[in-house]
């Protein structure tokens, strides 16, 4: 029996229209990890999550959750997972507390204990005061938090969050990050899909990138970021530069009269860049990263798969 929170082997999913959403993916999520599953729209993230949570039937392959096989021990698998889906999927015409208490009931938790847990999780997520309000009256951010409370009420060992902070303002997003980090520190394994790559980089220790039904990376966040061989910064100048200096490990290019971009090789420090600019009489007013580091890698990796797929499609 595996100790992994989630183990997926050769998982395939083909739809009736012939579309192959998953093309035999392998994935391991260690127990206790905070794991990012990233990919562009339609890459296969939600299909993977749907299969693991029994909302989508797989075509072939094996899925195990804490060693329990999805085909043979589906109820044990379900008992160990809490799901926060991408779209709101609670009864809009039920009071907030009932959404959570009923969910506990489906897991066989007696009503008194269910209310105790509902009070705890709704309180933690700032929704206890809204417990008697109809779910439909909540704001978008509150609805997301309600789904988190509902997913936690049966105290699953693995929490799966599909785009949990989509449409949530930055302040609330940060408080949700803190909450998720706290429950991860308590030993709960978390799988997160997100479009905010900053979120993945900040929260997750492990990462997989899925694209066109393939896993294109499955490693630690640190290991993945180490693959980034260059970093690009954008420089806003005080005055137009007359000429751009050359350097072996720093490449400068002009974007407009007062803006430059610098590709800096990994290992090179920023002092070298500033010495180079100073020597050429270029004065920098401000500097920022062109993209988030993870975003840079993500775009590169998913582009590579897209090109490979195009090559396959165009082959005779």
């Amino acid at each position: 029996m595996s100790n992994a929170a989630l183990e997926i082997r050769a998982l395939r999913k083909s739809y009736r229209n012939g579309f192959e959403a998953l093309k035999g993916i392998d994935l391991t999520v260690a127990e206790g990890s905070f794991f990012a599953l990233l990919g562009p729209n339609g890459a296969g993230k939600s299909t993977t999550i749907g299969i693991v949570t029994s909302l989508i039937s797989k075509t072939s392959g094996k899925v195990q959750v804490f060693g329990h096989d999805l085909d043979r021990e589906v109820q044990e698998v379900k008992r160990n997972i809490g799901l926060v889906p991408q779209e709101f999927n609670f009864n809009n015409f039920e009071p907030v507390a009932e959404v959570v208490v009923n969910q506990a009931g489906y897991y066989g938790i007696p009503r008194r204990e269910a209310w105790k847990r509902a009070r705890h999780y709704l309180g933690e997520l700032g929704l206890w005061d809204k417990r008697q309000d109809m779910a439909r009256t909540l704001s978008g951010g509150m609805k997301r938090r309600l789904m988190i409370a509902r997913a936690l009420v049966h105290e699953p060992r693995l929490l799966i969050l599909d785009e949990p902070t989509a449409g949530v303002d930055i302040e609330l997003r940060r408080s949700m990050w803190e909450f998720l980090q706290d429950i991860n520190c308590d030993g709960r394994s978390i799988i997160l899909t997100t479009h905010y790559l900053e979120e993945a980089e900040r929260l997750c220790r492990n990462i997989a990138i899925i694209d066109h039904g393939h896993i294109v990376a499955n490693t630690t966040m640190r290991g993945l970021l180490a693959k980034l061989d260059t970093e690009t910064v954008v420089l806003e100048l005080r005055a137009a530069a007359q000429r751009l200096p050359d350097h072996d490990s720093i490449r400068l290019r002009r974007i407009d009269e007062l803006t430059l971009e610098a590709d800096i090789n990994r290992g090179e420090d920023l002092n070298t860049l500033f010495q180079l600019l100073d020597g050429a009489g270029i004065h920098v007013q401000s500097m920022r990263n062109k993209t988030n580091r993870l975003e840079e890698l993500f775009v590169r990796m998913t582009r590579a798969v897209e090109s490979a797929d195009r090559g396959i499609r165009s082959a005779p």
Partner: protein, 260 residues
């Protein structure tokens, strides 16, 4: 496989049934009141105004004759519509996923929804019976037959409503069966007349209508009179319960209409 323990299953079932009962109880003005008003109109127009000219049916005052059929009509339509609308809206709003991701077995999901449908069917049945007391004295020939037939009939139509809900893809799909199948079959199921009045050919055709057996068995329970054999009626009702339950279970196990 380690299923939910018995007490956990019981908690899960109770949760679904409570949720379903609260759902229709919260909107009682839309769910319980309208059949009371409709049936009161039936009693006034068919039983009172027209019935007084008809006289007796099978040796029973016409108003008294139609009471069991109209109660049954209310039970059938409400058991069916409660489950079909609840199940379809849970698909439409996607909160059926709350159940699908949980370890509740499909058999309990069926029992839970059916429990809600039966609760509404019986609540409306009792309400319509109370209304009928303004027009007809209460009569009870056999408590066992009356209760067993009304509960089992309610189960049959709650199951049928669930199956309709599984296949439904839009709101039109949940009204087609009640409008074009259920209502005609109920009206032709001996609610307003005795099948013995029909010519032989139409009597034979009527015997293909399962609702005829349910209405007649219920009428027997209340009035002690029936056109048909009670044993055959029970056999048909039980047969439908088993058939529809197994069909519903197969559909949910295969994920038809609920899983991708």
């Amino acid at each position: 496989m380690k299923p939910l323990h018995l007490h956990e299953n019981w908690t899960a079932l109770r949760t679904i049934v409570t949720k379903e009962v609260l759902r229709f109880a919260r909107i009682w003005v839309q769910t319980v009141l309208p059949p009371m008003v409709t049936m009161a109109l039936y009693f006034i127009i068919f039983g009172g105004l027209i019935g007084s000219r008809i006289g007796e049916m099978e040796g029973i005052r016409y108003m008294d004759f139609i009471v069991p059929g109209l109660i049954m009509l209310a039970v059938i339509t409400n058991s069916y519509s409660n489950v079909v609308s609840s199940f379809f809206s849970s698909k439409f709003q996607r909160h059926i996923e709350e159940l699908l991701v949980s370890p509740v077995p499909n058999s309990l999901i069926i029992l839970g929804f059916v429990g809600g449908g039966v609760a509404r069917g019986l609540a409306v049945g009792v309400a319509v019976t109370l209304v009928s007391l303004f027009f007809s004295p209460f009569s009870l020939h056999s408590l066992t037959v009356t209760v067993s037939v009304v509960v089992m009939t309610s189960v049959v139509f709650a199951l049928a409503g669930l199956i309709n809900g599984v296949f439904a893809r839009n709101f039109d799909d949940i009204s087609i069966v009640p409008t074009f199948v259920l209502t005609p079959l109920t009206y032709l199921g001996g609610v307003f007349y005795s099948v013995s009045l029909l010519p032989d050919f139409w009597q034979a055709v009527s015997q293909l209508n399962p609702i005829l057996y349910m209405v007649n068995a219920f009428r027997y329970g209340l009035l002690g009179t029936s056109d048909l054999s009670l044993t055959v009626s029970y056999a048909i009702i039980i047969g439908f319960i088993l058939g529809l339950y197994l069909f519903a279970l197969t559909l949910l196990n295969r994920g038809v209409g609920v899983r991708n």
